[in-house]
Amino acid sequence: MNSAIALRTIAFKEIRRFVRIWPQTLLPPAITTALYFLIFGKLIGSRVGTIHGISYMEYIVPGIILMSVISHSYANVVSSFYSTKFQHNIEELLVSPVPNWVILLGYIMGGIARGLLVGLVVTLISLLFAKIAAPHLALALLVAFLTATLFSLAGFINAVFADSFDDISIIPNFVLTPLSYLGGVFYTVEMLPDIWQSISLANPILYMVNTFRYGLCNVSDVDTVLALIITSGFIVVLTLFSLLLLHKGVGIKN
């Protein structure tokens, strides 16, 4: 069995899918984030002043880019894998000799590709509003990659457990969006009262956003090494859990 060919087939299929429907997958984030930059960055941001020595517009750019990466990597895998379940074409994979890790990696690669492509689109839009110095570009790219991986895995697990299309929107609406908005995208945790600062530190997205911001703007509320360890740790745990679900056939086999 040539797993590389099977992996390539799944990953290409996933990438073709979101590229084919680009008006639904790539265009909306460009418009939404342009509005964020215009309203929060340009109109309101000019009254906020500077944070950690940089303009408010520059401060929010990394967070908005990473928020797009998070939501689109998650959305890609959760919608694609759930549709595969819903249409029963998951059976094409279950019948064939594709190892579980190849199925998982193929879908995750699709999620990473869409997350990073949307991140690139948002970055290009942001260049119309702010200058990005990117003093630690490699770190920023690593964080974007790890974040896309982590949320692709989370989307996969959501899809495995989902029994209806409602189930694939509950987590993004009621967990992901609040965590993203409270993850220091628009503010520094230093602005918060002590108790909320402590609570915010339990939000993993805060670590990713700040480390990404450090990569692009040299500014962070958290220890970047700790952030990388936390993100990697989550990836390992969710990968093992996803493989266990596939092995047991949870949600996909009788």
Binding site: M1, N2, S3, I5, A6, R8, T9, I10, K13, T84, Q87, H88, N89, E91, E92, L93, L94, V95, S96, P97, V98, P99, G249, K253, N254
Partner: protein, 301 residues
């Protein structure tokens, strides 16, 4: 060599329903085998386990000598499945559906393209290769699933009610296609509700009932067990009461339609002689039901 061996296969679903109660089954390589059963008898569960869509509770499945658990990839490589329900991506083109399946089996791009073209031509779908699959007719969708199942040249093809819901013309066309696949050396296991289909195509047969194999023999032996033939006769003139024919059971269905149950040892000539003696003129005759259908009902009732 056995293409398939099931040993003490059991399946109990989470709700406690015992779908399979320990079945043993052997299908020889090259065979055209019918697996029959009423709805809920356990045939879809059996096929689900063989094709890795359902986890068995206990027992073993061996495909061309490869244990499905211990040599999972080798066993799966031997199997092609045509499921009961359409299960491909309805937004994908016909060609991509088959090409993707080839990719899942690790076929190189060149091999996949050649085999895809061959299978689509074999199923008379080559001119539809760039059509988005949801635009196909029901019969074409079923043929896409057969092409997809054949793309990696499986040694064992499982057809789960492949002709359900297709018109008789397409059904007969599909029979020819499937027969050709079997003649080329592929072992076929067929489940169907059209018992005429099983009788026409299959050499061996198993009947599953309430989770157990209740019959397993070759078709000729099984059909040889029929002791009575049932006919419907269209009469030239109306009758008021059913005639009394020695050794036969007659029942008047309508004024000009007579149902007759005839012992196997009684020839049609003898029957017509008896009818002629009573001045009953027969215009046409047909089997009241398919022969296998009679047996099937006898076995499962």
């Amino acid at each position: 060599m056995n293409a398939l061996s099931l040993r003490n296969l059991r399946k109990t679903y989470n709700n406690g329903f015992e779908a399979l109660k320990g079945i043993d089954l052997d299908v020889k390589a090259g065979d055209f085998f019918a697996l029959l059963g009423a709805n809920g008898a356990g045939k879809s569960t059996t096929i689900g386990i063989i094709s890795s869509l359902v986890n068995e509770t206990s027992g073993t499945v061996s495909v061309f000598g490869h244990d499905l658990r211990k040599e999972n990839q080798q066993a799966k490589r031997c199997i092609g499945l045509v499921p009961q329900e359409v299960n491909f991506n309805q937004f994908e083109t016909v060609r991509n559906i088959v090409l993707n399946q080839a990719g899942y089996y690790g076929m190189s791009s060149k091999e996949a393209k050649i085999s895809t073209e061959h299978c689509l031509k074999q199923m008379q779908l080559w001119d539809k290769r760039d059509t988005v699959s949801r635009r196909l007719s029901g019969g074409m969708k079923r043929r896409v699933m057969i092409a997809r199942a054949l793309v990696h040249s499986p040694k064992l093809l499982i057809l789960d009610e492949p002709t359900a819901g297709v018109d008789i013309e397409i059904r007969r066309l599909m029979w020819e296609m499937i027969r050709e696949v079997n003649q080329n050396g592929t072992t076929i296991i067929l489940t169907t509700h059209y018992l005429e289909e099983a009788e026409n195509l299959c050499r061996n047969i198993a009947i599953i009932h309430q989770g157990l194999i209740v019959e397993n023999s070759d078709m000729a032996t099984l059909l040889g067990r029929i002791h009575v033939n049932h006919f419907l006769l269209d009469l030239a003139n109306p009758l008021q009461v059913a005639p009394q024919l020695e050794g036969c059971v007659c029942e008047l269905v309508e004024e000009k339609v007579l149902s007759v149950s005839v012992p196997k040892q009684t020839s049609l000539n003898q029957l017509f002689e008896k009818l002629s003696a009573l001045n009953i003129e027969v215009v046409s005759l047909k089997n009241k039901s398919n022969r296998l259908e009679q047996l099937f009902m006898d076995i499962v009732q």
